[in-house]
């Protein structure tokens, strides 16, 4: 049992009268896929936004590698090795795969060409982009010079995930990555998720798709009314159990195995 790489304790977030986070806890360990499930409006997206710097919680702590952190923007979180694949994908369709993978983090030529003439090292970026895709087993794209808009939905998703995988050294967050995909493409993305996990990266997967969650998750964080009501292992529970907890038909962790909850301080 390793210590969580990213954890949150008693997060609160109010939007006017709405309490989106009501003392939510969270944790994910390296090399683990943590699925986050919950009904619509349960506060999953708000939780993820708080963890990735897209919003600042009203109160509560976020710990990265056991150290207290405060992210003020997604870029802030990214600097700490936390990458997010947004549901909207956030790729620039007219740019090619390589440019998208390095967008905002372009690599320049060494020496005066890079420092003074600001010359991009496109060959190096392409080589690295191609290597990342290969390493993740994404072989459908013919070339990293292909414009993203010429790719299918699944391939675009793969590029977005690969970008996160290439830069997310600690945590990769995926917000409903398979929602718009067909069965085969969704399967490929889930395979990607496994590969990223196998490199020792912590993966947070938000999904409404129970079979997929059970297929790929190591643990399941069940969110309800702004709180984590249960943390379970898919091997210990059934989908019916999870749905019951999710919808409040059954109280959290009642009658189901508890996956090492609470985690404590990791010591």
């Amino acid at each position: 049992m390793t210590a969580p790489v990213l954890s949150a304790h008693r997060l609160f977030k109010h939007f006017g009268a709405v309490t989106a986070l009501d003392g939510a806890d969270f944790e994910v360990c390296e090399g683990e896929v943590m699925a986050v499930v919950g009904d619509n409006g349960a506060g999953k997206s708000t939780l993820i936004k708080a963890l990735t710097g897209a919003l600042v919680p009203d109160s509560g702590q976020i710990l990265l590698d056991g150290e207290r952190v405060r992210f003020h923007s997604p870029i802030d979180a990214r600097r700490h090795g936390i990458e997010t694949v947004y549901q909207t994908l956030a790729v620039a369709p007219a740019l090619d795969i390589s440019a998208n993978m390095f967008l905002g983090r372009e690599q320049r030529r060494p020496g005066v060409l890079g420092s003074f003439f600001r010359l991009l090292d496109k060959p190096a970026m392409r080589t690295r982009a191609a290597a990342t895709l290969r390493e993740l087993g994404i072989t459908t794209a013919r070339s990293v010079r292909q414009q993203v808009e010429t790719l299918s939905g699944g391939q675009r998703q793969a590029v977005a995930v690969a970008r996160a995988a290439a830069w997310g050294s600690k945590v990769v967050v995926l917000d409903e990555p398979t929602a718009a995909l067909g069965v085969r493409e969704a399967g490929q993305v889930l395979e990607l998720v496994r590969r990223i996990r196998d490199r020792g990266v912590a993966v947070i997967l938000i999904s409404h798709n129970m079979p997929q969650v059970f297929e790929v998750a190591d643990r399941i964080h069940i969110h309800r009314l702004g709180q984590r009501v249960a943390l379970v292992r898919p091997t210990d529970v059934s989908m019916t159990d999870v749905v019951a907890i999710m919808t409040g038909a059954r109280a959290g962790n009642e009658g189901v195995a508890d996956a090492d909850l609470p985690h404590g301080d990791g010591a």
Partner: protein
Amino acid sequence: MGPAELLGHQVTDAPVGANLDTEVRPTGVHRIRGFLVDATRGGVLGPLVALLFASVVFSALTDTFLTPSNISLILTQSIVIGMLALGQTMIILTSGIDLANAAIMVLASVVIAKVVKVSDNAFVALLIGLAVALALSAISGLLVSQMNLPPFIVTLGMLTVVTAAARLYTGSSSIPVQNDLIAWLGTPVPIAGFRFTIGVFVWFAAYALAWYALTQTGWGTHVLAVGDDPEAARLAGIKTRRVLLSVYLVAGLCYAAAAWQALGRIPNADPSGYASGNLDSITAVVIGGTSLFGGRGGVIGTLIGTLIVTVLRNGLTQAGIDSLYQDIATGVLVVAAVLIDQITRRAR
């Protein structure tokens, strides 16, 4: 489970991207092929074919079209619109538009002319002209980037205000300039029967520089990304507001250069000159294949687009065709170019 073990994990689990540093660099052949792919990505093939086609037709129709003197004329006639269209290209790449570019250029040129007249210091006059163009473009840029106002409206307002300001400033009469530095860009450069000017080379150099900045630097990638999908650019960590503002400033620089070029061609600053310069520059950009939706296109296309517009005017004149037909031809080309853009976008 203690901090030491945690540290150990961090060491073994190096960032994924970092693992790839050891990849071999591509060979020369790959580089050349990559360069060709990049160079044609802006979709310059269509405009290039159109330019060659028009040139062949006019060469066949007239004896005067394909002569060194007429080619020199076409080039010098293209310079000012070419410089305006350069700034326009960058703004359109951000999915903006600049209706005020010619007006800003005209105001800068009358300011330069007037300062030369009263102070006889051409260098200071050029600097002040540059400052005027930069400041006005900066205002447009700030309103667009910081206040999120639509570029069409911002620059429409700017056009109206600046046009009026130029007339008020000069009492609506043009100002002749007689100064070597101001006229420098008009200096003839005779090469093998051609009569180029220094301005022609400066114009090409400006395009080369802009091509480099747009295609070979991170700034250029960011400009395209901001025009393509601003939200995606923002989420990728690009400071989109700053990029937008920088584009308007670079455009302002182009308009100042256009003012100097205009005075080099005709040493007379006319506050009501270049009344259709804004639309002509948009025409050149659009015919050159840059998408009005932003994110797609480039300056090489605009260079060709500018030449197409001039060649059409020049060739139809040489062929003795009424100038109103020139306008019809240009108008049809613009709509055709946008139509092609729309169709190819839909096909994606």
